[in-house]
């Protein structure tokens, strides 16, 4: 090939010149490979960094903010939670099972790296329509991959969310969020400190897995060539990961590591340089010591390999024997591949030859930073000028169509393939607004909700992103938990297009506004660009994960299946005009996407969240109103509880305006509920009652049985 090596590796000429400037010479091949991967979009965030700085990330309870492998927040009484979200979009399109499986494996190691035991996973997903066989294949494979890895590694998958839209047909989204739990003294950072300390590589043998995959699979868009990129598929080994988790937790518990780092993109290159740079030190690395699966690997291949299930531990020489003993006990392979040295240089030898000698920090700190041009998409004015019609009739038929939608219908086809009970923490399982996990031996419980809404963000990324944060926060609050932290995964198209970058920038601002209004710190996240196929970009799809803390947690916690005949149906929250822009009704019933979503109302939003937290202690059912509006929310409660519901005439059935939730109120608790609400400042109104075996929407009627069957079959009838 005539192309210079750096261009083949995806580097621009300017970036190459910058490497030469740093090194004051031409780079060696291994060095160039390292810069090319570490300076890729995926690893360096070169297009997004200038924007991500705008996120609020401080709060008194933040122990570790963005920048480390995971955010860490203080839960009180010595407990810390670690959280992180990641995407594995492109690998999952190439090989859905393994792509999703290794996505789970990767996020678990990010949490483990902080010293925490991973205790739960969530999986926000996007696919094209299930009417298409290939989309079904991808969906089935991804769910099986998450199940296959998560179940076997022994971390429950307790929630997630899903949307189907044709913009994802050629570019599905597979995001995974993980939550970890630890006592304060377990916290570890990824810093190599202490001269003469040793770098011990633990876990899987290194092979030619996904070489260049980080830069190729994650940063380049799909097109006809994707077949050629296939050899870099990585295979997950949950068994190796399980042993690695147990071995590392034992190392942490015994204080045997001074720092630790997982190996992800750019494997050994990234882990050695990052730990050295974080510790303000250098490192001498001997590649001949690395335990290999394939014995004829070159130095660049070893440095770039993305073999899964590996960790790099920094240990004191005096502890080495104990560290190797722990590894041996768990049948985890270990090799001593480096020594921490003063000076800040990363020096790498292979077969007696110097293959790299670079300032460790330059791989991350000197990475390029782009301020890419922004431009508001030209079609927004036209979209906004349409005022979405408020549906007035056919409510019964519309409700059934909505319940039959696989993004609205029963998702237990997914969640029952996942072990969601392990550890006996799950006191509200998947299928409610947020999952609630108790911390045994305490009064504390953690709630997490993940949310995304690509269509609303397409119409207005700023408002759409802000609404997501508000929605996830309310989802958490209806379990009785106060929102305390956010992680975000920003799934976007090609950042080289100014319209996409504008969507990105608006999203960051919208999320930041909502987080500030809620006093919520963003403690971590991930950016996935180039989600496009043949030049068509996905909807801007930020996904947020909000963590909440309930203390003491409600016992029993509110659930969707605890409504009974005779209970009143309340709507808590502001009464505004029905908001149909980007709604499920538009998508499913009208096949349209238009209008401008309502802006959040921070004052109302805060009081409604406060109301939810206090009502969770009083009432059996709280359910936020989101996709499909009040009609769908009430129907879900009715179906899950096995009791009919009557909604009064005149209620906004399908609008998706923010800051609203439903409550089932037993007559004898109405007084307590009103008292509880009083302090929050939120307004409420009785809009119906639970009774009979029908869903009554004003003047229209659907039998509960038909609604339930439709809802239950939405996914199974499509998946066979």
């Amino acid at each position: 090939m005539s192309e210079p090596l750096h261009r083949q590796l995806g580097m621009t000429d300017d970036e190459y010149d910058h490497v030469v400037e740093i090194l004051e010479r031409e780079p060696l091949d291994a060095e160039l490979a390292m810069y090319s991967v570490m300076w890729s979009e995926h690893c360096s965030y070169k297009s997004s960094r200038v924007h991500l700085r705008r996120f609020p990330s401080d709060a008194p309870w933040v122990v570790v903010g963005p920048g480390e492998n995971a955010g860490v927040v203080d839960l009180g009484d010595g407990w810390l939670a670690a959280l992180r979200i990641e995407s594995h979009n492109h690998p999952s399109f190439v090989e859905p099972y393994q792509g999703a499986a290794t996505g789970v494996g990767g996020i678990l190691r990010d949490i483990l790296t902080m010293g925490a035991r991973p205790i739960a996973v969530w999986d926000p997903l996007r696919f094209g329509s299930l009417d298409d066989a290939h989309n079904r294949y991808l969906f089935d494979g991804v769910v099986k991959g998450i199940a296959g890895y998560g179940n076997a590694v022994g971390v429950p998958t307790v929630g997630g969310e899903i949307e189907f839209d044709d913009c994802y047909a050629g570019n599905p989204l597979v995001n995974v969020m993980c939550l970890g739990l630890m006592k304060r003294e377990q916290l570890v950072l990824s810093a190599a400190t202490g001269e003469d300390n040793l770098a011990v590589l633990l876990g899987n043998a290194t092979g030619r897995d996904g070489i260049g995959g980080a830069s190729i699979l994650a940063s380049a868009s799909f097109d006809e060539e994707s077949g050629a990129k296939r050899p870099s598929v990585q295979v997950g080994d949950p068994f190796e990961e399980k042993k690695l988790i147990e071995a590392c937790l034992e190392l942490f518990a015994r204080g045997l590591v001074v720092g630790i780092q997982d190996l992800g993109a750019a494997g050994i290159a990234c882990a050695t340089s990052e730990t050295a740079a974080n510790g303000g030190m250098g490192m001498n690395v001997d590649l001949d010591a690395v335990h290999l699966r394939e014995h004829d690997m070159t130095a660049p291949e070893m440095l770039m390999s993305e073999s899964q299930e590996r960790m790099l531990a920094i240990v004191r020489p005096a502890d080495l024997k104990a560290v190797l003993g722990v590894a041996d006990r768990w049948d985890v392979s270990a090799s001593i591949i480096g020594t921490v040295v003063p000076g800040g240089d990363l020096t790498i030898h292979h077969r007696g030859e110097l293959v790299a000698e670079i300032p460790a920090a330059s791989l991350s700190e000197d990475a390029p930073l782009y301020r890419r041009p922004l431009e508001r998409p030209a079609d927004l004015d036209a979209l906004w000028s349409e005022t979405p019609a408020v549906p007035t009739d056919d409510a019964a038929a519309s409700l059934l169509r909505l319940l039959d939608d696989p993004a609205i219908g029963d998702r237990s086809w997914i969640s029952e393939q996942y072990d969601h009970m392990l550890f006996l923490n799950t006191i509200v399982e998947p299928g409610h607004d947020a999952s609630l996990l108790r911390i045994k031996g305490t009064q504390k419980a953690l709630a997490v909700s993940t949310d995304g809404n690509g269509r609303r963000c397409r119409l207005d990324p700023r408002r759409g992103a802000a609404l997501l944060v508000w929605e996830a926060a309310l989802n958490v609050a209806v379990t009785g938990a106060r929102p305390i932290a956010v992680v975000d995964n920003l799934n976007f198209g090609n950042p080289e297009k100014p319209e996409i970058m504008w969507q990105f920038s608006e999203t960051v601002d919208g999320m930041s506004d909502a987080c500030r209004d809620l006093g919520l710190p963003v403690v971590g996240g991930n950016v996935s660009f180039y989600n496009e196929t043949d030049g068509i970009d996905i909807h801007p799809t930020p996904v947020v994960g909000v963590l909440g803390l309930a203390e003491p947690y409600p016992d029993p916690p509110p659930r969707l299946d605890r409504a009974e005949a005779g209970m009143a149906l309340w709507l808590v929250g502001p009464e505004g005009d029905p908001d149909l822009a980007g709604s499920a009704h538009q998508r499913v019933v009208e096949a349209r996407l238009e209008g401008r979503p309502a802006a959040p109302d921070p004052g109302a939003g805060r009081s409604v969240i406060e109301a939810a937290v206090v009502l969770a202690d009083v009432c059996p059912v709280l359910h936020d109103v989101s996709i499909g509006g009040i009609a769908v929310a009430a129907a879900e409660v009715a179906i899950r509880s096995g009791v009919g519901v009557q909604i009064d005439p005149g209620v906004d059935l399908f609008g998706e305006g923010p800051h609203r939730f439903l409550v089932a109120v037993p007559a004898d608790l109405a007084h307590d509920a009103i008292t509880a609400l009083g302090a929050s400042g939120a307004t409420h109104r009785v809009i119906g009652r639970f009774a009979g075996d029908e869903i009554v929407l004003g003047t229209e009627v659907v039998s509960l049985e038909e609604a339930a069957n439709t809802w239950r079959e939405a996914i199974p009838r499509r998946m066979g």
Partner: protein, 82 residues
């Protein structure tokens, strides 16, 4: 006609199950065991008596459903002609 499809993982792709089985055998004292690789076989009864036509159809089945071409190779053998 009886046809056998044997499916193996591509050489460059890691095979954690094979590795674990190899370790299991060595732990039992079978020190002579080197690399171990796992595969799958599918035995199909196919109506039809033109071997070439059947092979073509089975090849198509492999590409469409039976094998995962991203990580697997396959070999088709006629075990018993019609």
């Amino acid at each position: 006609m009886k046809v056998r499809v044997e499916i193996t993982r591509r050489a460059s792709i890691s095979d954690p199950e094979g590795t674990t089985v190899a370790r299991g055998l060595r732990d039992l004292g079978y020190d002579e065991v080197g690399e171990v690789h796992m595969g799958r076989t599918i035995h199909l009864d196919i109506a039809g008596d033109d071997p070439d036509a059947v092979m073509d159809r089975v090849d198509e089945m492999c590409r469409r459903l039976l094998a995962n071409p991203v990580i697997e190779d396959y070999v088709i053998t006629v075990e018993e002609p019609a």
